[in-house]
Amino acid sequence: MRRAFETALVVATGLALAFLLLPILALFVRISPRELLEALWSDVALDALWVSLKTGLIAHFFVLLVGTPAAYFLATKRFRGRGVLITLVELPLVLPPAVAGIALLALFSRRGLLGQELDAFGIQIPLTQTAVVLAVTFVAAPFYVRQAIASFETVDRTLIEASRTLGASPARTFWRVAVPLSATGLGAGSALAWARGTGEFGATIMFAGSLQGVTQTMPLAIYAQLDLEPDIAIAIGALLVLVSLTVLLSVKLLPSWTRFTSVSYITSARSASS
């Protein structure tokens, strides 16, 4: 009886792994490495890589620039409605990408909520690279902000207070104490947001379109090349697998690189003094 159960567990694990890994493996055995590199050297792939990298970096810059202080505020201040705000920040995490796309259109299109005002200044956002940046930021930011809030919350409050009594302003305390002690979590959140942003498809294709060299990011290029040149689609797909794997490994390995998180320090201090 016990034997049968153990066997069932092993079979289930084998099935799960096969189902999750075989498609990815198939991507790499469809074409030879040489063909893969050649396909990546095509104009379409290089353009997509360039658009993805550029929009991704700009979006990520804004995610970190605005997300970090916002997360710090939400993590450290106690006020009415804080829980509601945090939940709202997380909403895009569960929102279907198509809804994100139509929502961005509802705000920025010419007939949208802000569209007319922007139009008056001669600014049109849909179908531009700016639209790609906005779409990527919209779907990726919550991954970072959520993780950053959790990281800032684990920083020992006493260390923040100690910093203040040592003469440091709230801003200096943020830079010299809160951010370094949250670095592991901020790094993990940053990597996850980057991965989500790189893979963004639905909101981008609706809001920014798929114009090669302008708004066609790597996932959009895969879709566009599927019927034209499948090898290019597969090559870009393989490249994205490598990018994703790098992100995953960095998130897994990050905690062992940064040893001085406040949490582990407190446990070691307690055990040393007891």
Partner: protein, 342 residues
């Protein structure tokens, strides 16, 4: 003359913190049980807690004044606060921790605290005593006008504690800063402070030098806290000017203090003698009973007899061949028996 003035009213969970105190160029200890509001007083002075009402001022400069609407942030109050668990920054070295508060005096302070060889170590690699010294050095690096210490010795093991206590006492004497420390340990307060205030449920119930508190505790709590035995009973005037106290167990003792009604008789362990048979001196108080416990402490032995704890030298414990369970007589003088109202 730099002096810190504090008066504050603040509601804590189950009681009201209400006190006033002044700290000149001296060390004042606030002692009391856990949860008496001691830490809240330090936090209010440092600006980490905003009291409902009150005033915190250094000489003429108000840091907090609820009536004038003054409430300076912590970084603008000239305090050095040593936290109970020291709150060293784990991602900085010892030197960086100290330099964080003030880069000018790092070398001098590391030298003063005897931690110069540890300057490149991180807090995680230090022992409890070393951490404590880094915390003190860091608190001083800001050149504070006032030093605040929250249970400065509580995080240390018993072995380290005695040594650090002596070093800290020496250092505080040399600094000559107005210092307010809080502790739940009367011994620490007695060793470090010029004056001691006993804080119970948010109020200072007695204030004085440590010897004064030991000599004349005004409440059972202070008596118990300073290490005395407390025997409950009923007092009335007796023969030859002595006060008779009938204890709850039916026995009778005498005191030179004049008090009537429900009282606590306070006897310090070092004023209790232990013998095999009752001494003939009639002025003495006696408690007879078996030895409940014998605990050696260095060259002394604490002997528990009935409700009393006596502290005698190890030599006399040997001479009397004391063993647990054997009947003995614990005796103490009427002059060494203080009475406090209950």
């Amino acid at each position: 003359m730099d002096a810190l003035y504090v008066s504050l009213v603040h509601h804590l969970r189950s009681f009201r913190l209400e006190l006033a105190l002044e700290v000149g160029r001296e060390t004042v200890a606030l002692v009391g049980p856990s949860g008496a509001g001691k830490t809240s007083v330090l936090r209010a002075i440092a600006g980490l807690l905003r009291p409902e009402r009150g005033r915190v001022a250094l000489d003429g400069e108000a840091w907090f004044d609820s009536e004038a609407g003054v409430d300076l942030p912590p970084e603008r109050r000239s305090v050095g606060l040593v936290f109970q668990e020291y709150a060293l920054f784990p991602h900085m070295t010892v030197a960086e921790n100290v330099a964080y508060a003030g880069p000018r005096r790092v070398d001098e302070l590391l030298e003063l605290l005897g931690i110069a060889p540890l300057r490149h170590a991180r807090p995680g690699e230090l022992s409890g005593g070393e951490r404590q010294r880094v915390a003190v050095a860091r608190a001083l690096a800001r050149d504070p006008a006032v030093l605040l210490m929250d249970e400065p010795l509580a995080a240390l093991d018993a072995h380290t504690r005695a040594r650090v206590r002596a070093e800290l006492g020496d250092l505080l004497g040399r600094l000559g800063l107005p210092t307010l420390l809080v502790t739940h340990d009367f011994q620490d307060a007695a060793a470090l402070a010029d004056r001691v205030g006993v804080l119970v449920d948010g109020s200072i119930v007695q204030e004085g030098t440590a010897p004064e508190l030991v000599a004349s505790p005004t409440s059972p709590f202070v008596a118990d806290f300073t290490g005395g035995n407390l025997l409950r009973g009923t007092a009335r005037p007796g023969a030859s000017g002595l006060t008779e106290v009938d204890l709850e167990d039916g026995s009778r003792i005498f005191s030179t203090d004049r008090l009537e009604g429900h009282v606590g008789a306070v006897v310090y362990p070092w004023e209790v003698a232990v013998a095999r048979e009752a001494p003939t001196d009639s002025a003495q108080n006696h408690v007879t009973g078996p030895i409940v416990s014998l605990v050696p402490i260095a060259n002394r032995v604490r002997v528990r007899v009935g409700p009393l704890t006596a502290e005698i030298t190890a030599a006399s414990a040997d001479r009397l061949r004391l063993r647990q369970g054997e009947p003995v007589v614990a005796s103490f003088k009427a002059t060494g028996t203080r009475l406090v109202p209950l």
